[in-house]
């Protein structure tokens, strides 16, 4: 859109408007409301619902304002009898076959058709014929479908195609027999549920939350997702201390992700009120004994005494403090303070899968927000698999290519789904990602690198040309495959690849909701890593105080490490492999029960808000740490609220300088922390190190040629998703049940046998 200004007259009033603006947006902006169903920002235009008709002078027929680009001197009428009759008639047509289901429809109260009928419809419905019949059914364990309610706005098919690239749900049939569905009638997709979210009627509904509450009974709390590093904003619907559902509908929340959520963010919440949540503090009074419920006072005292004893006996460094990329900045900050200041140990870390310390230590430019990804001109994706691990990032990349004409290059050992959007796919041998980084940084090694990667020289030349010719924003995303040296090189790319015409932005792809935050709070600057501590358990490390649990891949091969510790104190939501070895287990509050912040992969620091009080006797992680500190004689500020901790974070951590909770109040205007950048530096040492490693890589060997199945990461059963019955069905291959019909007598249930089977599937 240009900055040139033109004149448009709407309903007799003259307005100055940007040339190229869309008429429907202009009218709404100027205060003239125009109804629409099929028009949805950043989705392919349809002009099929015909609700947005307006009268434009000199055009013989009424025009859909969603397809009209304003021109100078345009005269538009959006009000008056002619327009109103058209609007009433379209609604009358839509309501003709629409069943009067409001009393039994979950969408009632937040239904766009209801609202449009009230605002724009007529008083009378003249349709007295027989309505078309389609049976109500399930399309998947997450998606319930009543085809009779469908107004064929096709938002669902468009988001499935354009946002997710899956094209799982489509319109079949013709004319009045058109129905939304799929071949075989069972959706074998990533189950993101975006189709449910954007549906303006009760056609597609959340099958996991069916007939459980009415929207007006729910309190809506805006918070940030607890799963991946995308940091999607969501609205938590709670009633009487129970988290009932999570949505991203724009009437409740307007985050940088719009109405997008993935299967985990949307459906992965039943763990919050799950019966298996740890109820009280637990103490194992002697090794090999059982965990016995205790009071908070007893438990805190027990931990404090034990920690004192360990410090006296084995020294401060024998105590390891482990934070989590899952918990809030405030919680992690207090753990860092506890470790560094109170205990005085060098050994603190967090249970993330890979560290981004080398990246941040060498960061030579800015981090790309997700909005910047959407509007980039060129995108380079090295490793990773955003579609499965950071779905919103995957969606932004996909739309950048499809809607924005961006050029995408994928460098990966696996033919991930995003190669469909790529202008070039550099298919490399597994484990050779560092070589690709070497190739970009130093062209002299092209021939060697090409052999190691298993590609032609021409492909690397192509890549160099693409980068050299790139204008506007060039965004480089990278996954966890890169070594520390390679991360450092990538971090410096804004300095040596950027130019006057081209701005290079970076976007790491960490796995967890607060991976960036846990790094920012300093927890990754410690001595031993998580695996390091486990290796040293019983030797250099005698006690571990951990929020969360060690990851399966960290415990792999070291299953008995935890038993060698004198003391293991765990703050957790559920019993895990780690708590099985704990001496003290303290019930922690989940993300839905605390105030705090998460920092996402785009550097946005966003609010986490308490939606229900902590369940059972759980406490916020930061509060537990503060109480423990107090028992050890250090007052971190018992009366501290999370916002007070954040104030200290703002004071102590340069990237967060000047921030306060009130500044983070509006989720539609997120704030990016300022990670600061390192000037261009000589990377000879890192490049040498990479080259040595690359030299060791084989020059023969096969490549992975099969695209992994949808959901191979998304549906994995972890501590949290284990508590969602439908995930077990998905992990077991999403089998189509005998019947998908919905009736009051029959609902899809997860029977115990399927669940047991599902739990045995996989590694």
């Amino acid at each position: 859109m240009s900055t040139e200004v033109i004149k448009v007259t709407i309903n007799g009033q003259e307005f100055q408007v940007s040339k190229g603006a869309r008429l429907i947006d202009v009218c709404r902006e100027k205060g003239f409301d125009i109804p629409s169903f099929c028009y949805y920002a950043d989705l392919a235009l349809q002009a099929s619902c015909r609700m947005c008709l307006v009268r434009i002078e000199k055009m013989p027929k009424l025009q859909t304002s969603c397809t009209i680009i304003c021109t100078d001197g345009m005269v538009v009428t959006t009000q008056g009898e002619e327009i109103e009759k058209a609007q009433r008639s379209m609604l009358e047509f839509l309501l003709a076959n629409h069943p009067l289901d409001c009393p039994v429809c979950d969408r009632g109260g937040e239904c766009e058709l209801q609202e449009m009928a009230f605002d724009w419809g007529g008083l009378e419905e003249r349709f007295t014929e027989r309505k078309n019949y389609h049976p109500e059914k399930y399309l998947s364990p997450m998606v319930a479908n009543d085809p009779q309610r469908c107004i064929l706005c096709k938002r669902c098919t468009r988001v499935c195609d354009e946002w997710m690239g899956e094209d799982a749900i489509e319109a079949g049939g013709r004319g009045a027999n058109t129905v939304i569905g799929t071949y075989g009638g069972w959706l074998d997709c990533s189950q993101c549920g975006n189709c449910i979210e954007v549906c303006p009627t009760g056609t597609l509904l959340d099958a996991t939350y069916r007939h459980q509450a009415r929207p007006w009974e729910l309190a809506q709390t805006i918070s940030t997702c607890t799963y991946c590093s995308d940091g999607c904003q969501m609205s938590l619907g709670t009633r009487s201390g129970e988290l009932m559902r999570i949505v991203a509908r724009d009437r409740y929340v307007n985050g940088h992700n719009g109405e997008f959520l993935c299967v985990k963010g949307r459906f992965g919440h039943p763990f919050v009120n799950h019966e298996q949540r740890i109820r009280t503090p637990l103490i194992r009074y002697k090794k090999g004994g059982k965990l016995i419920p205790a009071t908070w006072d007893d438990a805190i005292r027990h931990v404090a005494t034990a920690l004192d004893r360990e410090a006296d006996t084995h020294g401060r460094n024998a105590i390891g403090v482990v934070g989590s990329p899952r918990i809030t900045n405030e919680a992690n900050y207090l753990l860092y303070k506890f470790a560094a200041d109170l205990v005085g140990t060098e050994n603190y870390t967090a249970t993330d899968v890979f560290s981004l310390k080398p990246f941040f230590d060498n960061l030579g430019g800015a981090i790309a927000t997700h909005k910047q990804i959407r509007y980039a001109r060129t995108i380079l994706l090295i490793g990773g698999e955003p579609e499965e691990l950071q779905p919103f990032t995957g969606k932004q990349i996909r739309q950048a290519v499809r809607n924005g004409g961006a050029r995408l290059v994928v460098v990966n050992s696996v033919p991930i789904r995003l190669i469909e959007q790529a202008v070039q796919f550099i298919h490399i041998r597994p484990g050779s990602e560092d070589a690709a980084v070497l190739a970009i940084a130093d062209r002299t090694n092209n021939a060697l690198v090409a052999r190691k990667l298993g590609v032609d020289n021409a492909e690397l030349d192509s890549l160099h040309q693409l980068i050299a010719g790139a204008e506007g924003d060039l965004i480089i995303l990278f996954g966890g495959e890169l070594s520390a040296a390679a991360q450092a090189v990538v971090a410096q790319m804004p300095n040596f690849l950027g130019s006057g015409r081209r701005r290079v932005l970076l976007h790491p792809l960490p796995l967890f909701n607060n991976s960036i935050g846990v790094h920012d709070m300093g927890l990754m600057n410690g001595g031993l890593s998580a695996t390091g501590m486990l290796a040293e358990a019983g030797r250099a490390i005698r006690a571990i105080y951990i929020a969360g649990s060690f990851l399966p891949q960290q415990l792999h091969g070291r299953e008995d490490a935890l038993s060698k510790l004198d003391l293991l104190v765990v703050q957790e939501l559920f019993e895990t492999t780690t708590t099985a070895f704990a001496d003290v287990v303290l019930p922690a509050a989940s993300f839905a029960e605390v105030d705090g912040t998460f920092t996402n992969s785009g550097g946005l620091v966003q609010r986490v808000r308490l939606s229900i009080p902590p369940v059972n006797q759980a406490k916020a992680d930061w509060l537990i740490t503060a109480q423990l500190a107090k028992e050890l004689g250090v007052n971190l500020g018992f009366e501290m609220s999370a916002s007070a901790i954040f104030r200290e974070i703002a004071a102590k951590i340069p990237a967060y300088a000047g921030l306060r909770y009130p500044l983070l109040k509006d989720e539609s205007n997120p704030i990016q922390v300022k990670h600061g950048s390192v000037d261009r530096r000589d990377l000879a040492a890192e490049l040498r190190e990479i080259k040595v490693a690359v030299d060791q890589l084989p020059e023969t060997g096969g490549k992975i040629t099969v695209t992994p199945e949808v959901g191979h990461e998304l549906f994995k059963i972890g501590t949290l998703t284990d508590k969602v019955p439908q995930f077990h069905l998905l992990a077991a291959g999403n089998p189509r049940p005998e019947t998908v019909r919905v009736s009051p007598l029959y609902q899809i249930t997860v029977d115990a046998a399927v669940r047991r089977q599902a739990a045995m599937v996989g590694d």
Binding site: L45, S48, K61, L62, A86, M90, A176
Partner: protein, 429 residues
């Protein structure tokens, strides 16, 4: 069934009754492939377009858009490939003329497409044929093979720099695919939904490249236009409607068939009662749908004694349209309520379902018709139907909505008695 010209020398139909009329030899023996030879050796593409403009040829599929003007919209300097797509999806009820052109004189169509492709710079061209006409696709494929072997298709045609290929393509039973943008959607392999205009196909059509979609009868007129000159062609008809038109006559006439008439033929009454040999079984004329089911139905008294000239302007003045020339004649035994119900079912069945008014409106209208048919008619139903039609007309995504509304609107207005008798409960309606 009669096939021939009335009121003029047969032009499009002049080879139709020859033995082996579809063979290349017979075509060449009877003036075929002379025009393309002439065009390739001595006319520029712009020349061709100008000649077609002068001819006042208008789209014969139903829309009646001036063909020369349509061709001139194709941007010459666009680097994208251009396409000529022949619309042989003849599905308008009452229309069956393209069928005989393709069946009996396929080379005329090939030559027409060749000249159009030359004028527009199109290398690959398609004949989108309705799926039910499979036997015609086979005939067309054979003719294309003959043409290819004889050097009229392929590389460097007749020794010129012009290379061109034509392929047949099958539809699969969808009237909406006769609408040009829906045809292109279908040709691209998608569901046959119409596309937004603008951009117009001449600028962004097949695969988003400049495309001209023309009806069979439009393209078959082109070789003669080049041979006799545009002006001469135009003079066969009227000032605004040049040349001849094929009318597909069916229904209660003694001699149904395909009639070639000069544009502006004087007049419709003579046509029915003399040329088509009058109403069958000694009945009286009641109604005529002159241009395919989508045009306004006409009462007998709008034809007899009215001197209705059979061209675009004449029919509009008489209260209908030329459309596709699907001329359906109905006698006094026809209940116009039933005939309109029949057509409404057609539109409901063929509605693509994209936009609200057409999809829901045609469904609703059919249900009203059925209820009335089953004896549940109410006096207010006529007004209801008119209002529903009014809510569809002009508000749908493509002209199919209008096409569904017009038959009902015109039928209720012009044959109120036929409706009243179904709706009246006790004589009040």
């Amino acid at each position: 069934m009669f096939i021939g010209a009335i009121g003029c020398e047969p032009l499009q139909l002049r080879r139709i009754h020859l033995e082996n009329s579809r063979s290349l030899t017979v075509y060449r023996q009877n003036g075929g492939y002379e025009a393309i030879q002439q065009v390739l050796s001595s006319r520029s593409p712009d020349d061709v377009i100008n000649e077609v403009k002068k001819s006042a040829l208008r789209g014969r599929g139903g829309a009646g858009f001036p063909t020369g003007m349509k061709w001139s919209f194709v941007p010459k300097d666009s680097p994208k490939p251009k396409y000529v797509v022949c619309n042989a999806d003849e599905s308008e009820p009452g229309t069956f003329k393209d069928r005989y052109l393709m069946e009996r004189d396929p080379h005329m169509l090939i030559e027409g497409i060749l000249i159009a492709a030359y004028a527009l710079g199109a290398k690959i061209n398609y004949i989108y044929t309705r799926g039910e006409y499979k036997y015609l696709i086979d005939i067309m494929d054979q003719a294309l093979n003959e043409a290819r072997t004889a050097g009229y298709l392929g590389d460097r045609i007749l020794g010129s720099n012009f290379s061109c290929e034509i392929h047949t393509h099958t539809g699969a039973g969808a009237y909406i695919c006769g609408e040009e943008t829906a045809l292109l959607s279908s040709l691209e392999g998608m569901r046959g939904h119409p596309k937004m205009k603008p951009p117009f196909p001449a600028v962004s059509g097949l695969y988003a490249c400049p495309t001209v979609v023309n009806n069979v009868e439009t393209l078959t007129a082109v070789p003669d236009i080049m041979k006799m000159g545009g002006e001469a062609y135009q003079k066969l008809g009227t000032e605004k409607s040049g040349g001849t038109k094929l009318w597909s006559v069916s229904g209660h006439v003694n001699r149904p068939g395909v009639y070639e008439l000069p544009m502006g033929y004087d007049d419709m009454e003579k046509f029915i009662f003399e040329d088509c040999q009058g109403i069958s079984n000694g009945k009286k004329l009641k109604a005529v749908i002159p241009g395919g089911s989508s045009v306004y139905i006409m009462r007998a008294d709008q034809i007899t004694g009215r001197d209705v000239r059979m061209d675009y302007e004449g029919l509009v003045a008489a209260g209908s349209m030329v459309g596709s020339g699907g001329f359906i004649v109905m006698d006094e035994t026809v209940d116009v309520f039933e005939s309109t119900k029949n057509l409404t079912e057609f539109y409901k069945h063929e509605s693509c379902g994209w936009c609200t008014p057409c999809r829901e409106g045609t469904d609703w209208l059919v249900k009203v018709f059925k209820r009335i048919s089953n004896g549940g008619g109410r006096p207010e139903d006529a007004q209801l139907m008119l209002d529903l039609c009014d809510n569809i007309e002009g508000k749908s995504f493509c002209p199919l909505g209008d096409a569904a509304a017009w038959p009902i609107q015109s039928a209720i207005k012009r044959f109120p008695e036929d409706f009243k008798k179904h709706l009246a409960v006790n004589g009040n309606s």
